[in-house]
Subunit: 205 residues, 2 copies
DNA sequence: AAGTAATCGTTCTAAATTTCACGATTGAAA
DNA sequence: TTTCAATCGTGAAATTTAGAACGATTACTT
């Protein structure tokens, strides 16, 4: 089996979302052309992505939604549920805690941490906010996989260090500065400022 | 002059941020190796990116921070200020409205829109929330460039249509579904669910 | 039963991006 | 003044990614 590129993973996750919607609508067949219309990805690209997981389609017919969903899911989502912890219950952190859509995709925020006394021991959307000091203990107990950095940038590296110590293996970093972690820990930077500016540049060009 | 790829634009925006910090710290010289350490981008990549804007470095010395900043900025950020409008003043929308960091980067949210009566005519962080019906008029008057979709997915396409009609040329779409717009309008999808799941996949692999 | 149209899957081609290697340039030191 | 080390800039190679073409397969139609 060949390695799957991050781009492919992202696209496959899109396909999975479409498939779940289709299955909910009781549609049992779908073609690469259909998925293309739903996702904007070209049909060739879709067939190519899917074919890296084996032959699951039938010519003239397309793909069986339930089967395809199962195949894709088995390959890229070994885990049933993604357990996430959140650092920083500010504006952005609260938005994430209050978002109901994550549950549907089996993303579960299992705990939150903040430094500020007034935020601690509150429950937001049934997630408890702990003091940062308790992070290593709580994270291990709840067996979280991924951490979100939603603290101001001057606290970002410190929080990242705690995350690494606590055994998290992936970090989503919303703070506008790069963080240093061992390379066994995957980092995904989401820098909204850069996204906005970048779009602006593409427009003017 | 050759065309600048989106990847390059994103990296250059990173360099610009580093440069601003350095200048604030009164550092007048910086090498590609330094920038590499600050950003994680390889030094060769940095030199190559910069060289597409001309020769601005001096061998043995590096780059003059102030000069480099000016050169990069002139090339990719023609506009002084990016004017943004926000659709959907819910959890995510409020977080964006309350974020003070955008001003520093000359990103200015000039107006917000919502459907819900209880949100309308409030001011959040001195940004007025208008009813969606007034969007075309307000957007034209304030000469906004970019719109943010932070409404539930079933409203996303409708909001996108209004944005196009109002003359926006770029859209940042936080809703978990693709939107259809004329191809003269640039769309940047930011799908947090996919980002989290994607990170999860990379970890397990 | 044969023809046909739709769709998959694969191979080859092309384009974009990154990495590598190395020459060129400069200021400082011996 | 000569040497040297640091750094830039660039052309070529390698890698990755997307795209196009096309044969293979299947079910429907007549
Ligand atoms: N809100 C946005 O739209 C937005 C946009 C772009 C970037 N960001 C970035 O996202 C991050 C969060 O933004 P925000 O608007 O939610 O900030 P915020 O100031 O509203 O919230 C930050 C929270 O982190 C907590 N905190 C600070 N230091 C901590 C520490 N060491 N450990 C644990 N908690 C700590 C604070 O008590 C606070 O609750 C920031 O880095 C910001 O730059 C936010
Ligand atoms: N909050 C998160 O962390 C998060 C995570 C992933 C994705 N998203 C996506 O981001 C979007 C916004 O999320 P949220 O949590 O802020 O949602 P929300 O429900 O809190 O807010 C949505 C807002 O949009 C307004 N709205 C609805 N229809 C509208 C219309 N036609 N025109 C104008 N306004 C309208 C509503 O009145 C509400 O104020 C959603 O599409 C969601 O799926 C959010």
């Amino acid at each position: 089996m060949k390695k799957i590129s991050p781009n492919t993973i992202n696209r496959v996750l899109l396909y999975l979302r479409v498939l779940e919607d289709l299955i909910k609508d009781k549609r049992y067949l779908v073609s690469s052309g259909d998925i293309s219309r739903f996702t904007g990805v070209s049909d060739v690209q879709i067939r190519k992505d899917i074919s890296s997981f084996g032959k699951v389609g039938t010519p003239r017919i397309g793909y069986r939604t339930i089967e395809l969903k199962k195949v894709l899911k088995d390959f890229i989502l070994q885990c049933d549920v993604v357990r996430i912890v959140l650092f920083g219950v500010g504006n952005l952190g609260k938005a994430i805690l209050k978002y109901p859509g994550f549950n549907k995709d089996r993303i579960k925020v299992v705990a939150a941490f903040d430094r500020l006394g007034s935020r601690i021991n509150k429950k937001i959307n049934s997630v408890i906010v702990y003091p940062v000091e308790r992070a290593p203990e709580v994270i291990k107990r709840l067996r979280a996989d991924i951490g979100i950095i939603a603290v101001p940038k001057k606290s970002a590296q410190g929080v990242a260090d705690i995350m690494v110590l606590s055994g998290l293996r992936g970090i989503v970093n919303f703070s506008p500065c790069p963080i240093n972690v061992p390379k066994s820990v995957m980092v995904k930077d989401i820098d909204l400022t850069i996204e906005f500016l970048s779009l602006c540049c593409s427009i003017k060009a």
